[in-house]
Symmetry: C2
Subunit: 483 residues, 2 copies
């Protein structure tokens, strides 16, 4: 925290949050044999959590090979982190047991609190907060999935990716937190911490932002937010986080119906779009319109070299695709400068089959016969000082040659793109579009993985690539130190 905030009495210092991501032992309370209840416990086993795991259920017995304790009090050792799957009404007394046991943090899958809109639900929330504050227990949720921290082998997904990374993500929606982890994995993103924080009765979006802003393992922050608990604190947290690292925010519930849905979902109160927009502008955090755009930008921050301008050079294949690439890139705010005669002449020296377009975009299938020449074409465009960023695209549709042949040639093109990206120092984005059939979809994921392993950002839509580049370039230009 900057010195400017020293005047504020923090009841819950954000430094204290770190311990919740590194529990030494966990209890899963209310675990039974239903898929969801098992789902609350299984990730600790499958993700290799090294500490003690204590299932708790009044019936006792064993579950997933572990002894089930009849109560929290019965657990022999210390318990740092408790995950609750029991009905809302049972929580206060169970939380009192936790207090007696010295539990440090609890997350509540359980819904049925403030988001129901009933006085009973809201009063339950107040009650558990009272108990927690008295006992010094930090609460995640309720109505959430809790904590994912690959470094600590804790997760809410039994088949979680376990490689730690630099993206920190907080989400008021459990589904979006799972989406970002899974779809992120396909896109080469790995995470420091993901927090599904639901109704945010205690730990809220502001405190999480403050924490991630100072977390050394987190290089870029993403947030899905439906409502904000404390507007002033959030404004400050967002500004301070964005001053330290890139922050990308999606606001759910921006429309009338969306706000109604988010009120029922997490009890979030509507906030007017213009207030939200000015908050983002003032803080220099980046707002996005969809979870896809969130991933697109996270991928840029993870893999794209700094982009210092909006002049793009495009190389790929397909006349219609090239026209669409040009249209979509320009519509999103990229410039596609026309090539000067010198560059056109240089391109023409390599084998370019009839029907190629020597302009910007370059449209050629020269890779089908002369991969070395194709590489030189990309190199020439990359070397031209008229472009700031290179977009290399490919849509495997399998026309004349059929799909099978094209799928065989696909890795050849990927190889040329990876090689070219390795030779230039300019930022490069690879786009594999038109993945609209099952066979091609599978191949796209495989080729994307190769690019990610070579630290090249991969996208699946030309328009969304252009949009991500323009926004990323805006960030890079206003942050000259970003490397």
């Amino acid at each position: 925290m900057g010195a400017g905030q020293s005047f504020e009495l923090r009841q819950w210092p954000s430094g204290g949050l770190d311990s919740i991501f590194h529990p030494k032992s966990v209890a899963v309370v209310g675990v039974s044999n239903t898929p969801v209840q098992l789902g609350l416990m299984r990730p600790f086993l499958t993700c290799g959590f090294a500490g003690n795991i204590y299932p708790v259920h009044r019936d006792g017995g064993t579950i997933l090979g572990l002894k089930v304790y009849r109560s929290i009090a019965d657990i022999p050792g210390l318990v740092d982190y408790v995950v609750f799957g029991t009905p809302a009404a049972s929580i206060p007394s169970l939380l009192e047991e936790c207090a007696a046991k010295g539990v440090k943090a609890a997350s509540f899958f359980t819904a049925g609190f403030g988001e129901t809109g009933t006085e009973g639900g809201k009063s339950l929330e107040r009650r558990i907060l009272e108990i927690a504050r008295y006992a010094g227990i930090r609460l995640i949720g309720p109505n959430c999935l809790g904590l994912y921290c690959p470094e600590s082998h804790i997760s809410f997904i039994p088949d979680s990716p376990l490689e730690p990374g630099s993206v920190g993500f907080i989400s008021q929606s459990g589904g979006n937190s799972v989406y970002v982890i899974r779809a992120g994995a396909s896109r080469g993103l790995t995470f420091s911490k993901v927090v599904s924080y639901g109704n945010a009765v205690d730990v809220d979006e502001s405190e999480l932002l403050e924490y991630l802003a100072d977390d050394a393992a987190t290089g870029v922050i993403g947030a899905y937010v439906e409502g904000v608990k404390d507007g002033e604190r959030f404004r400050r947290a967002l500004r301070e986080a964005a001053a330290k690292k890139p922050v990308i925010v999606m606001k759910g519930g921006n429309t009338r119906s969306g706000a109604r849905a988010s009120a029922s979902h997490t009890g979030a109160l509507a906030s007017q779009k213009h207030i939200w927009d000015s908050l983002l502008r003032e803080s220099q955090a980046m707002g996005v319109e969809s979870m896809e755009e969130m991933l697109d930008l996270l991928v840029a921050f993870r893999y794209m070299r700094p982009v210092r301008g909006t002049r793009a050079g495009i190389v790929g294949w397909g006349g219609g695709a090239s026209v669409q690439a040009a249209d979509e890139c320009e519509a999103e705010g990229l410039d596609l400068p026309a090539f000067p005669p010198s560059l056109r002449n240089e391109l023409a020296r390599h084998w370019l089959p009839t029907g190629s377009i020597l302009g910007n975009p370059v449209d050629t299938v020269s890779w089908s016969r002369d991969r070395a020449g194709f590489a030189k074409i990309i190199d020439a465009v990359a070397a031209w000082d008229g472009v700031d960023v290179l977009i290399l695209h490919m849509g495997v549709i399998g026309g004349l040659m059929g799909l099978e042949t094209m799928l065989e040639l696909f890795p050849v093109v990927t190889g040329a793109y990876i090689e070219a990206a390795g030779k230039t120092s300019k930022p490069v984005a690879v786009v594999f579009h038109s993945n609209a059939t099952p066979e091609v979809g599978a191949a796209f994921f495989e080729q994307a993985r190769k690019c990610q392993q070579a630290a090249i950002p991969v996208y699946d839509s030309l328009g969304r690539t252009a949009r991500a580049i323009v926004r990323y370039a805006g960030f890079c230009v206003s942050h000259p130190g970003w490397v």
Copy 2:
């Protein structure tokens, strides 16, 4: 053609076009053993073309098991349709051979004509047009893939879908014509005719529109157009076609860079966006911004029951997904009326796990334990007279339960959606979103197929579904006879 056009002397009556889609014999000129040249010929073999297939190359020999003729003149029988893969400069003399042989139509894969922007290219175009008009040969292209007509077993894709259908599509881009066939197949679309017409030196977009407007096999028309040869004729053709059946048009080259690319691609001349927009408005054809949106609308016209208003009821799973569904639907122009207490009470009578949202959208995982109850929930929403259209969505992300369990449950949800769609008479759209991992992608295609087989339109994005519904509803409202 309507009586209003009788004043016009048609040099090339569009009725004459029909014969080009039903050739009795074909020759492929310039065929050699390169993948592309083989690709020009192979589709006639693999797609089961019943007539004679004559490969032609000056070297003779055999190719793909067929005797290669050294010249067109050497071919023993009649030749209706010729596909050219030879260099541009060779075309005039070869076309003269075709004239002598009585060929009816020729398509030119060959590029290197007007789209090069050179005087030589343009003069070649004029020369082949002269020969063709003199000899009564219709020309497709040059710089195109030619004709796809499953009914006649002719295609430019060796592994083509062969089921005929009701979508007619014309495309100035070969790639987009392949894309629409392949991606269309994944989306349950089948075609009457697809024409990749390239530079349109003879048969052009206007004549093709006129033809498809009167073609009994074609129920809906799609077009990808970069430039228009004859503005007045196109205006009339578009208006008349749109008066007879739905016409969806994508204009490529709308931006400065896009126009430059399309000039190099097909020699298309730029036209200003506002002229194009007024053309669409006046004709009641529907303009789209991308090929994806083209498919979205074609799917609506193929599978969606008429939508007579924009009030949608949404049922699906995921709090964040429901908030996003509401936001995206409202942003695209759908209304999501709040449910009245009577409907909420009715929904509450079925098993709804804690955390469900009883509003519009409905968010529930009740299908995981009580499929019959889940079906009743959808039925109740469908039966409410406050909604015109039902959107049923599912995003398989595999949180607590893991991906495997979710993939097992996926068909259960699909089954409930299909059953519900069968019980209501209201229009239904199914959306499988979040297909962002390889495993899920494969499952999505499989479940989508089931829906298509039950004549239910399937989409993969909530926002694009909403957009398609709003536009389709606009069409249905202004065409009360559309069923």
